[in-house]
């Protein structure tokens, strides 16, 4: 096919994608009273739309037409400055691919998942907002005009708010919804101010006008813009310390929405940062990269540490999103540092590492949330302490969750390992490429990345082991049943994506060429692949190589070792099923099993300066404390950011507003004076 044809095809499919999402949102509402029809219509529409979007973005990236795509108007606007322009450029297409891939898997999953709400909640509303959110996120990645961007950004936040508050009869949900709403708008405020700064220099709102605008700003303005965008997009991405909405809002949403939020919604923050830092603001000063790298490192370590303390399966996954955003930011921060020190090729490597981790995280976190959703669907609880033994009744879900757990723990040969390997490589090469003591940042961040990876592995041993292995800890868990086929299919798609992204990184990296070409003028995929694309390299002569495919094949080739041992020695041995050894007591009960809280206790004790764990034990006994009749146990971990930052801040705001209330006395005369003084001040200012 010729390029022109490819271009037309991708744009047409993109139009289809947007139209079908919109149709799905509206059509779903037409069937308010018919749950089954509404489910089929809304999730059918979103599946088809996501598929169109996926093909469109993959075509645009794969054929290289994305680089030359021009912006076009989606529909005509009647107001000056406000233009509804979209553009399928490489960066947008890459993120569009992520949202479409996840959207497809989630929509298929939702056919089965929505059935859990029948008779309880209105599925039509869920379907409508689900389509609207997907539409808004897709448009965020495609918008080519700051006004339109902010508009769809708000639609995205509002529809996400509606979805978070879907089960609004629970107090917890309402609180989480409001927190999300408030934080999200603080972020939007920062972004708005940032765009105004850029507008001052460019005189227009088109993203093509913003390209490289940093050169026309004064250093002070540029730094201000950087900080505003970092905070604004950082809230959405969930960086520490702006993350507090994330572990509150993600768990209470329906699981398909949690997956979408953790997988893609927070990536809009990453998209925004990449767009602004690399496309708009030009060559950065040194401290930008240092800031982003430090924030990334801190977010990664704190995210995983808090995740370890959770025994609510979905909150645990939500905290892991903070960790992974941190890892992505390590890549972006390193890229900014390289850009500052004049190494565009290394900057591309670091950016590729960050972006690769972005899609990887979307895929495995989506998968894990879907698994958690299936568990919730079947056991009606999110508390891991009540689960256990689910691998027996939920074989496929367990397998898919295990794949996701291995992937997120950055273990070879799956995708998490590949992107962290790239991150390590770029950090290691940063040491040589950077003058001055700043270079020590790189290996130290690398060490923290190692800590993060190992803690994540510990956390997922806990998450998988306590949820799916051993004996069921409650009746719910004992009666668990496998999820319906559509839910398994949704998880299956993402599992396949994890395996593909893990085993064939070199084929996938080609799709990132247009992105690095657009932002940094480099194409690295050729340098990153060796030996017919079977081996990934760190882009320098002896930097290091890895081949996940090779490792996997070799592991299979080594199977004869245990095989021969069995054949020679163990052929005649028999296998018997017996009870677990119970120290001579009368049988093991589920109460004797290790709990999620118990599992993470050593880590809680080691990091006790951070967690400040508190525990209360009350015993009632007749003659000796060792034979308690009733026992009550409570254990808490302090959330430092809530108690040390947000609560004092909250009190401060309330105190100031109480003082300010005196102004609002209710007398007309006083108000007239205010107006007069304001007018005077404005006149003086104008002079």
């Amino acid at each position: 096919m010729t390029n022109a044809l490819m271009h037309d095809l991708s744009i047409t499919l993109l139009d289809f994608c947007l139209i079908i999402y919109a149709t799905g949102a509206v059509a779903s509402l037409l069937f308010l009273r018919h749950e089954k029809t509404a489910t089929v219509v809304s999730f059918g529409c979103s599946s088809v739309a996501a598929l169109c979007g996926l093909i469109a973005c993959a075509l645009a990236l794969g054929s290289g037409t994305a680089a030359s795509n021009q912006s076009f108007e989606l529909f005509r606007s009647l107001v000056p400055y406000v233009q509804f322009t979209v553009r399928l450029d490489p960066l947008g297409a890459f993120f569009g691919m992520i949202v479409s891939l996840l959207g497809l898997a989630l929509s298929i999953y939702s056919f089965g998942y929505a059935r859990g709400f029948f008779g309880r909640k209105n599925v039509a509303v869920l379907g409508a907002f689900f389509n609207l959110l997907l539409l808004a996120i897709t448009l965020v990645f495609l918008a080519a005009n700051a006004f339109f961007f902010l508009m769809v950004w708000e639609i995205m936040a509002l529809s996400a708010y509606c979805l978070v508050s879907f089960e609004h009869e629970k107090e917890e949900t309402r609180q989480a919804g409001v927190l999300f709403f408030v934080m999200s708008h603080i972020g939007t405020g920062c972004i708005l101010l940032g765009f105004l700064l850029l507008f001052q220099a460019s005189g227009g709102y088109g993203f093509d006008l913003f390209h490289g605008i940093g050169a026309h700003l004064s250093p002070g303005q540029r730094d201000a813009a950087f900080l505003l965008f970092l905070a604004g997009f950082g809230v959405k991405a969930g960086i520490v310390p702006l993350h507090i909405w994330l572990p509150a809002a993600h768990p209470v949403a329906p699981s398909n929405v949690s997956a979408l939020m953790s997988g893609v919604l927070i990536k809009t923050g990453i998209y925004g940062m990449t767009r602004v830092f690399f496309d708009f603001l030009g060559t950065p000063p040194g401290w930008w990269g240092v800031t982003v790298l430090s924030i990334g490192t801190v977010s990664a370590v704190l995210g995983v540490l808090y995740a370890l303390m959770e025994h609510d399966l979905k909150r645990l996954l939500a905290y892991h999103s903070i960790e992974n955003i941190g890892i992505i930011l390590m890549g972006l921060g390193a890229a900014l540092m390289f850009l500052h020190s004049g190494h565009p090729a290394l900057a591309s490597l670091a950016l590729i590492a960050g972006l690769y981790h972005t899609i990887n995280h979307a895929v495995f976190k989506g998968l894990l949330f879907l698994g958690a959703g299936a568990v919730l669907h079947s056991t009606h609880t999110r508390d891991m302490e009540e689960m256990g033994g689910l691998a027996r009744n939920m074989r496929w879900t367990a397998l898919f969750f295990l794949v996701g757990a291995v992937a997120i723990s950055a273990l070879p040969p799956l995708n998490g390992f590949v992107s962290e390997w790239l991150t390590y490589q770029s950090l290691l090469q940063g040491f040589g490429a950077t003058p001055s003591l700043v270079r020590l940042m790189f290996p130290l961040s690398g060490a923290m990345l190692a800590l993060t990876g190992a803690l994540a592995a510990a956390c997922f041993v806990k998450a998988f082991g306590i949820t799916f292995l051993a004996q069921p800890r409650s009746d719910h868990a004992r009666k668990a049943h496998e999820a319906p086929v559509t839910m398994l299919l949704g998880q299956g798609i993402l599992t396949a994506a994890c395996v593909f992204l893990g085993l064939f990184p070199t084929s996938f990296l080609k799709l990132l060429d247009p992105v690095t070409q657009q932002l940094l003028g480099q194409e690295l995929s050729g340098q990153l692949s060796l030996a017919n694309g079977l081996v990934l390299t760190g882009a320098t002569a002896h930097g290091g190589t890895v081949s996940t495919l090779g490792i996997t094949l070799m592991l299979v080739c080594l199977l004869p070792v245990p095989g021969v041992l069995w054949l020679v020695f163990a052929r005649r041995s028999k296998t018997r099923i017996g009870p677990t050894w119970d120290c001579g007591l009368r049988g093991l009960t589920p109460q004797m099993e290790y709990t999620a809280t118990g599992f993470s206790k050593p880590i809680r004790m080691i990091f006790k300066t951070l967690f400040r764990p508190r525990r209360e034990v009350q015993r009632e006994y007749d003659f000796s404390p060792y034979f308690a009749t009733t026992i009550r146990f409570e254990s808490h971990v302090e959330e430092v950011f809530q108690t040390r930052i947000y609560r004092p801040l909250n009190r401060l705001v309330l105190r100031i507003s109480r003082r300010l209330r005196a102004l609002q006395a209710g007398s007309i005369q006083a108000y007239l004076i205010y107006i007069f003084i304001t007018l005077l001040l404005l006149l003086i200012f104008a002079l």
């Binding site: 690398g446 051993a470 070799m554 290790y594 206790k601």
Partner: protein, 314 residues
Amino acid sequence: MNLNVTAIVLQTALLLLLAPLLSGCIRNWKAKLQNRRGPRIWQPYLDWIKFLRKDMVISEHASWVFSFAPYVVLLTALMAGLLVPTIIDQAPLSLFGGVLALVGLLALGRFFLALGGLDPGSAFGGMGSSREMTIAAIAEPAMMLAIFTVAITAGSTDLSHMVQVTPGATWSLLNPTHVMAFAALFIVLLAETGRLPVDNPATHLELTMIHEAMLLEYSGRYLAFMEWGASIKQLVLMTLLVNVFFPLGIATSASPAALGLSLLAYLAKLLALCGVVVLIETTNAKLRLFRVPDLLSAAFVLATLALLSTFLFQ
């Protein structure tokens, strides 16, 4: 891409056969130092062959993960071993991954080992898994930082390349960077292989056990795979230490004479390292679990100092 099948097969055989010998030597020497007669150095071979012949009892609560874990532990340890140069300065599968892949593979084995510990639903297993993952997590940054220091000096994460540049001009035995990184990695080795100040490999059924606690429900050939895997892991980490820091005598060509000499040198270095481990094991008591982080933070500080010294001495 040319894969040398002979080299792969030979190295696999070397790893499989040498690992029990080292475990046996350590056990025997430790007993000698404590004025006991101790088991013969061949005892691990006999033990594991016996385990292989025995019938297995599998817990009624266990799922397929329990049976899958022993294979993962054994195969990842072997695979990791194929990434390290042993008696020739070119590891057979260097192209498939360097030191980062090695650490990843060992972590994959540990992941499944810990799941295998949790699966039968015994409190011992859970306790072992919890502790193993905790210690691994705090050992990891020290290990990576020490490895980074070496990788930065060698300019590569490829182990063969590291071993090849080590005898070069920039390296000397008493280089402070070198010494401190070695010390850090040695402490990590003790933690990773469950050696004495961290875990006591000789305890069985004590509340202090870590590695043994996870294996409690394993029997028969699965137990053999698990123990053999752990032993290979120990050999791999020791090889990493002796060959990256002291590549003396390693063969640079595949001639039989060079390989023979290199094998002798390799054995001598490994046995010397075992001797150090034995000395430490006999002269130190086991640390309380919550004192282990102090030891490992010492390793981390050493690794940081090593890194700083590369900066100072350049």
